[in-house]
């Protein structure tokens, strides 16, 4: 299960950014509030670094009226494509797994 989570969590981050940019704290908090997605808020930052390096997101620093400057993340074109590709594959994958699980239970 941990491997599935590890493999899918980065696409959850991309999905959070689909409609617009967000800053790191916001992403980490949203993911931590979704049951079972991440073990803790801090583990999201290595993942964000990985997405940044792989060119799926890029970042800008902005001043904040409520504290220190914030690093905002947004999807690149490659990130959008990667997310769409994953969505198709994920649908096929979950449909297949559910079919097997239900068949097994009969």
């Amino acid at each position: 299960m941990a491997q599935i989570r590890r493999g899918t969590i980065e696409y959850c981050v991309l999905a959070l950014l689909r409609d617009g940019e967000r800053y790191g704290f916001d992403i980490a908090r949203t993911l931590s509030e979704a049951d079972g997605l991440v073990t803790s808020e801090g583990t999201v930052y290595p993942l964000l670094a990985r997405l940044r390096r792989s060119g799926l997101v890029d970042t800008t620093w902005r001043e904040s009226t409520q504290g220190p400057p914030r690093r905002y993340y947004r999807l690149t074109d490659e990130g959008h494509s990667s997310l769409e590709e994953f969505r198709d594959q994920w649908k096929r994958f979950t449909t297949a797994v559910e079919a097997v699980l239900e068949a097994d239970g009969r």
Binding site: G24, S40, E41, P46, A49, Q66, R70
Partner: protein, 316 residues
Amino acid sequence: MGTDQTIADYLDQLEAALVRSGCSPSRRAEFVGEISEHIEQARAQLPVETEVSVKRMLDRIGRPDELAAEAAQDEATNQQASPRLRQMFLLGSVAAVVLVGVVLGLVLTLPASSGLPIRLPNLLNEQVTTALAKLHRLGVAQSRVMIEEVPQPVPWLPSRLVLAQSPAVGSSLSPGARVVLRVSRGRPMCRPDRTVPPSTLSITMEHATSNFERACYYARAERPLSIRLTNDVVALGSGVPTSLQLIISPSQHPAMTPVPGRPGLFTGSAATTVVVGPNVLAPNSAVFSVPPLNQGTYIIEVLQLGPDKSATLVVS
């Protein structure tokens, strides 16, 4: 142990765990900086800052060894070149050599890795965690930074703001030398009130000090609220009976702020004010209703007295 110390210890433990996990210095500095900023933002959202609430916040961020393991695994993954990358290296080996040379050159010019003196950035007016993150990025470990609180609390300054730094901005920091940051003490800490606050908040301004009778007041969130203001400040310096008017605003955005370098002068803005009470002439009391307040920490000020006479209102 104070909450600042708890956070500093946590960041120290994280730094040590990252060293043990084999993370590179640059990745360590970046990651500690990210977690410092996360703490800063999570801390700003705490309704009331206590030892328990800060520990809960840090638990939510994760154990240092767990975070270090995650960061190390990420770095190891990054170091394994993808097939596409390997293909690029094969196709453009000359370009890769040039690229490696450039990267190597850049790395060698970094102060952290070269041992050359570091030129100190401007850390003034930064939150201390942000200042530490900036120093980390330059290769200055937290163990080389001494944080001193100024002796007196300054009511209008947020807690842990860098007021002075040594060496000064732009000075060189020799290898192994320490950085000293003098930080604000901030407003007095208001501990959570275990009793249910009444629906009428009684606030008395004392004559002897021309100040609030208490440093901390409490109210319930999103409930109808009345305030009874008792003005006991019979006369200020001029001997004229005083008329006092309460204003309440979110603690991050006080309505009144002092003018730098002009003691006794302040500017005011009603933009963030959530409550403006009626004028109450001494020696009298008046009760007035205020709109239900959202959960949070507010600052109560008196228009006639300025920002150095204030109290904290915790709404929970």
